[in-house]
């Protein structure tokens, strides 16, 4: 078998029966990274590759010293999850030389399950962005068309999965940062319910929204990774103390009677025709499967972006106050006094988008504006959650687009923060409400002579990922979109 042209589950099984060794599989992925990720024409999905460590880990699997449900499978990690080896940079100059003193719980669980960590992936600085163009180091390229963005902020993880530079990858989703790049790169990407996976060791952006999740080739692979990573963690007091359903990885079980919700608020006329067509085709797939299609109302959908850019920036302004040029991170060499040390270290270490968001959040929380901005946003957040709660009384999952259009060109939106923010219009409400969402490959569009992936999204109620995955699997089993690969 070719270990880089397979699913995570198939590779895991092949390694278990010694049809391929973990070391061979790891070397095969490292070779592909060497061939496709570096240099002028490279994708730049990875910021750092742990070649020696990965091979040693794989050899330990082959000797039977490391076992588990992920034994020997090579996985890439977004560079804001701490590892006590290598660097953890958040793609920021601020943390360019930062070596984390501990490993994030999500990563530790993967390693305890036998996974081989290949490296850390490029992202928008501190997860703020939708294209990886805000990385302080490099812009990752979309494997389907290297003139285009992979989406973001977990764009490196999405591109690595899409181009088979890993068997699976891990990202984080604060407003769509897994699902949007998954859609733009043609892979499965899931944000579980808020609190399902520990945030311990996840460098905080917006603590009430951030959630870890996987990128994979298939729904079954996503379920396998969720089963490993989910669960309460005493080190994260906001991780949910809710049992992980034991059927979470049995995605092929019949989902029973399905009620699929369609919300007109997500079917805007401004959606690209390829997106509208993919969503319509997905509705037909579920109809053919005997699902009941029900109309649901999410009347506060259009307020999601304004709420998000208050809530997320307010939380970020607080979380990022820790970068002071004293404890860790960049420190200016021009400080006149302590306050000047803070101001110059932060100004030199952060990029413009991070500065904009810190200032916006500080403004929204500042004296005289707190009620007008922050508290009002929290109230509208409640209305958005109430919309979902009412909708999930009438349906089991909401089917909608992940993004309004396929991948845009590198540079196209770089000077227009507000236009960039609109990328999250169909993903952000799920974070605000805290429920689960998954983006699936929904087909392709031909743009400028190139084939580009289009995503469809399923949103489900909190803490019922099991059923959402079974419903997602119905669509996947009826289509071949997930088998399409970019020509890398």
């Amino acid at each position: 078998m070719n270990p880089t042209d397979t699913t995570l589950t198939e590779l895991r099984d092949a390694i278990a029966v010694k049809a391929v060794s973990a070391a061979e599989a790891t070397r095969a992925y490292l070779d592909r990274i060497q061939a496709h990720d570096n240099g002028d024409a490279g994708l730049h999905a990875y910021h750092e590759v742990f070649a020696d460590r990965a091979i040693q880990r794989a050899e330990a699997v082959d000797r039977g010293e490391v076992t588990g449900p992920l034994a020997g499978v090579p996985i890439a990690i977004k560079d804001l999850l701490c590892t006590d080896y290598g660097y953890t940079t958040c793609s920021s100059k601020m943390l360019e030389n930062f070596r984390a003193p501990y490993t994030a719980t999500a990563v530790k669980k993967l390693e305890d399950a036998g996974a081989v960590i290949l490296g850390k992936t490029n992202m928008d600085e501190f997860a703020m962005g939708s294209s990886t163009e805000n990385s302080a180091f490099v812009t990752t390229r979309n494997p389907w068309d290297t003139d285009r963005v992979p989406g973001g902020s977990s764009g490196g993880s999405a591109a690595a999965m899409s181009a088979d530079l890993c068997a699976a990858s891990i990202g984080t989703d604060t407003g769509g940062s897994i699902r949007q790049p998954a859609a733009l790169c043609g892979v499965v990407g899931m944000k579980p319910t808020y609190g399902r996976i520990s945030r311990y060791g996840l460098i905080a952006f917006a603590s009430s929204l951030d959630q870890v999740g996987p990128f994979t080739r298939t729904v079954a692979d996503t379920a396998l990774l969720l089963k490993v990573m989910m669960g309460h963690d005493p080190l994260d007091s906001t991780s949910a103390n809710v049992e992980v359903p034991e059927d979470i990885d049995r995605v092929d079980e019949a989902p029973g009677n399905m009620r699929i919700g369609i919300a007109k608020e997500y079917l805007s006329d401004s959606n690209d025709p390829s997106v509208a067509a993919a969503t319509q085709k997905a509705i037909e797939v579920y109809k053919d499967f005997g699902a009941e299609i029900v109309e649901v109302d999410l009347p506060h959908t259009e307020y999601g972006i304004p709420v998000y850019y208050i809530v997320a920036t307010a939380e970020a302004s607080s979380n990022l106050a820790r970068y002071d040029g004293v404890h860790y991170g960049h420190r200016t060499d021009k400080a006149a006094d302590l306050i000047d040390l803070y101001c110059r270290s932060r100004a030199e270490g952060f990029g413009d988008e991070v500065k904009r968001r810190i200032m916006l959040g500080t403004y929204a929380l500042s004296s005289g504006y707190y009620d007008a901005y922050y508290n009002r946003a929290l109230k509208v957040r409640r209305l958005i959650k109430n919309d979902f709660d009412a909708a999930f009384e009438k349906c089991d999952a909401i089917l909608c687009p992940t993004t309004t259009a396929p991948a845009f060109k590198i540079g196209e939106l770089a000077d227009d923060p507000l236009a960039m923010y609109m990328n999250d219009v169909y993903t952000v409400n799920c974070n605000l409400a805290g429920n689960a969402g998954i983006s699936l490959p929904g087909g392709t569009a031909t743009v400028d002579g190139k084939e580009l992936p289009v995503g469809v999204q399923l949103l489900g109620p909190s803490f019922d990922e099991s059923r959402l995955l079974k419903i997602a699997r119905v669509f996947e089993a009826a289509t071949d979109h997930h088998t399409r690969r970019p020509g890398v």
Binding site: Y194, S237, H300, Y363, V380
Partner: protein, 104 residues
Amino acid sequence: MSKGQTITEADVRHVAKLSRLHVSEDDVHHFTEQLAAVLDYIGKLNELDVDGVESMAHPLELVNVLRADQERPGMSTDSALANAPAKTPPFFKVPKVLGDGPSA
């Protein structure tokens, strides 16, 4: 937050100070423009009547999560200082905070 109210360059200078961000005059100019556009869009929230709506700061209804009062190892001083850009172990090094006092 009335419709049409927009952020001024003076506001941006003030917010930059609160945020401990050194900004140049060029920065102030372009951040003001960009933040004004974003705040104008956020003004959309004024369309809604939110009287009596309960605020939602977090998806989980958690209050005072406490861990067991048990001794456990913490981070060592070496580990805590390992990433410090300037240090004199066991201390972080910062510019002088207090003045030299009145000269004798």
